[in-house]
């Protein structure tokens, strides 16, 4: 497919490349990242460009890879009146996201107790297939949780009120409609609150070394003011609850499309008009799943704080265990952007992409408003992660969006053929990264060789101005489902 170079970091596929494209597609990335992307990315991003009501461009971020319907790394904004909502633009794991906690502990303080700490966290945070959460929910409580998200957790003793101001959208997506969630989703989600899941989900202990701070002033605003500070990163989503909501509505949307005169060759791109009954129902159910994911990360945070507290004999507050931020990277949200000189409310789908609002944006928490919204980009188990901040340029160019992670380049089976779980664990431990994994084959599938070079992805969004690097986080211990 023909790609026109717009700048060093932007490549455009014009509408003439595929019949039915309503807008051009724009892919962000360095030349080498673009060249290493599979053809499926270009196929999928141009399919997205065909959807009714899409505005400006169909985007793909530098970590783009082949997904279902949308590519992973896909961003698209739709008119609320003429546009659609598509489960394929959000993903099966609704509000999969990343949360970063900081501590005032240093590497020197944590290193001697690292093994003990990791063993405890592994015990108290359920992970892997079949894991059961420790929070007992009734139907009524679950309904409240779907509406209030992380706020429900704080009300029920799993966190502090100030946590909520450090989560995207306050940890609560408005418009949740529990009555639009199937009984199956209720049942699947009921006993999974506070579980990590499996696949690429993880909990990681990290260190911020002084040489890996790129912007000291912003780092201080984000809570990093001493050398070798320890952080905790949590990567997970809405578990079986969200997967069931996505499954239910993908099926439903494929059935109702003809009624609305809609057709997509790829069934994963099934959609419904946003204003239709089905579109509104899915939006309400999706918000429930998004809130479930915020709650999930909140409950896990609570357990992490308990674990640290027990090992270091101090309260979480005394250990400085504050949330830096929590981002959603599989979600659709209503946001206002200026188009043709007019502010317009749009439904922005981000599938494997992170919101990236710049300084001064009213939705950025006050304490960060002078530097921009924190953007958390999680790496694979063996590689670093990054903390960046959003930019006004992202708001102007990509509907306030940036990358979300490294992006896979190798199949799971191939990774398992190249790496054995036990060998990987040993090698990582030799490099100072302790690992506790529920599944050894699962561990091998997530080996660093299976992923793109995250630093190249982060350089690309930094150079393109979609977000700005603040610091790098190096793994020192990892829990895998």
């Amino acid at each position: 497919m023909k790609k026109i170079k717009i700048s060093d970091h932007i490549w455009e596929i014009p509408t003439t490349e595929k019949e039915g494209m309503r807008v051009p597609a724009r892919i962000y990335g360095s030349q080498s990242l673009i060249e290493s992307m599979d053809e499926g990315v270009f196929e999928q991003v141009t399919n997205v460009a065909k959807l009714p009501g899409i505005r400006k461009y169909a985007f793909c971020m530098p970590d783009g890879h082949w997904g279902y319907g949308f590519p992973i790394g896909g961003v698209a904004a739709f008119s609320l009146e003429e546009g659609v909502i598509s489960p394929g633009g959000i993903g099966f794991d609704i509000n999969c996201g990343v949360r970063l906690l900081k501590t005032d502990l240093t590497l020197e303080e944590v290193e001697p107790k690292k093994r003990e700490l990791l063993d405890l966290l592994f015990r108290i945070i359920p992970a892997g297939v079949g894991a059961k959460g420790f929070v007992r929910l009734t139907n009524e409580k679950f309904r409240e949780l779907m509406v209030n998200g992380a706020g429900w957790c704080v009300e029920n003793g799993y966190g502090e009120p100030e946590d909520l101001g450090r989560i995207e959208q306050g940890g609560k997506l408005p418009g949740a409609k529990p009555e639009k969630v199937s009984k199956k989703a209720f049942q699947r989600g009921m006993n999974q609150l506070g579980t990590l899941g499996s696949g690429n989900h993880y909990l990681e202990l990290q260190v911020v070394k002084p040489e890996n701070i790129y912007d000291g002033e912003k780092a201080r605003v984000l809570g990093f003011d001493k050398p070798n500070q320890i952080t905790v990163m949590i990567h997970c989503g809405s578990r079986g609850f969200g997967h069931q909501v996505a499954t239910d509505y993908l099926f439903e949307f494929n059935r109702v499309m003809p009624k609305y005169g809609l057709f997509t060759e790829d069934k994963e791109l099934a959609c419904a008009p946003y204003t239709s009954v089905e579109g509104q129902d899915y939006h309400g159910a999706m918000a429930c799943a998004a809130n479930n994911a915020f709650a999930n990360r909140q409950v896990i945070t609570h357990r992490v704080r308990e674990g640290f507290s027990r090992i270091f004999g101090k309260s979480p507050k005394d250990l400085g265990m504050e949330i830096v931020y929590d981002v959603a990277h599989n979600i659709a949200k209503i946001e206002a952007y200026e188009l043709d000189g007019k502010k317009e409310k749009l439904l922005v789908h981000r599938k494997g992409a992170t919101r990236s609002f710049g300084s001064g944006h009213p939705d950025v928490p006050e304490r960060y408003r002078s530097i921009g919204q924190p953007v958390i980009v999680g790496g694979s188990m063996e590689s670093p992660s990054y903390l960046l901040v959003g930019t006004t340029r992202a708001e102007e160019e990509t509907f306030g969006s940036t990358c979300h992670g490294a992006g896979r380049t190798m199949s799971r089976s191939k990774a398992k053929k190249m790496v054995r779980g036990h060998d990987l664990k040993r090698t990582m431990e030799e490099h100072g990264i302790l690992v506790r994994a529920v599944s050894m084959p699962g561990l091998a599938e997530e080996a660093g060789v299976a992923y793109k070079n995250i630093s190249e992805v982060v350089e690309a969004v930094d150079s393109a101005g979609l977000s700005k690097k603040v610091l790098q986080l190096l793994p020192i211990a990892n829990i895998k489902g």
Binding site: G67, Y68, G128, Q187, S198, N200, H243, T409, S413, P441
Partner: protein
């Protein structure tokens, strides 16, 4: 034709694709179910201790396979169980109807091999086809 399945690497590198076959629709669906659970565990270690009834009615064969696999993934979570035996009857006409039972046991991390969880069935390059000697399907699972 002997029923069976094979994992495909090329389609969905981040997840798991497979193709499956069988002489009848029942055999095909059974192959697909086994391929799905073998992603999560070593099925030879799962005993068919407890059974759950399944009934599904749909308009198309594609929908029937999508809903059947979604149903057993749902039962995996709600019963926290792996399933190794599938006793199914499928009626195909103007509408499609599946009835039968799935048998397995509670997930036990001491006895079972835990691999990667399956989140959902996708429609990505989804195919169910009648061939000369039986039935064929291609499915991508989201992990």
């Amino acid at each position: 034709m002997k029923p069976g399945y094979r994992y495909i690497d090329e389609i969905a590198p981040a997840d798991q694709a497979f193709e499956a076959w069988g002489a009848s629709l029942e055999e095909l669906f059974c192959s697909c179910a086994k391929a799905t659970f073998e992603v999560m565990t070593d099925l030879s270690k799962v005993e068919p201790e407890k059974s759950f009834a399944i009934e599904i009615e749909t308009e198309t064969l594609d929908e029937l396979l999508y809903l059947f696999l979604s149903e057993i993934i749902y039962l995996k979570d709600t019963e926290r169980s792996f399933y190794s035996e599938f006793d199914l009857r499928i009626e195909a006409g103007n509408e499609f109807r599946l009835s039968g039972k799935v048998s397995g046991e509670k997930i036990d991390s001491e006895r079972h091999v835990l691999k990667t969880d399956v989140k959902a069935v996708t429609y990505h390059q989804f195919q169910v086809k009648k061939r000369k000697d039986g039935y064929y399907a291609r499915v991508v699972l989201d992990l």
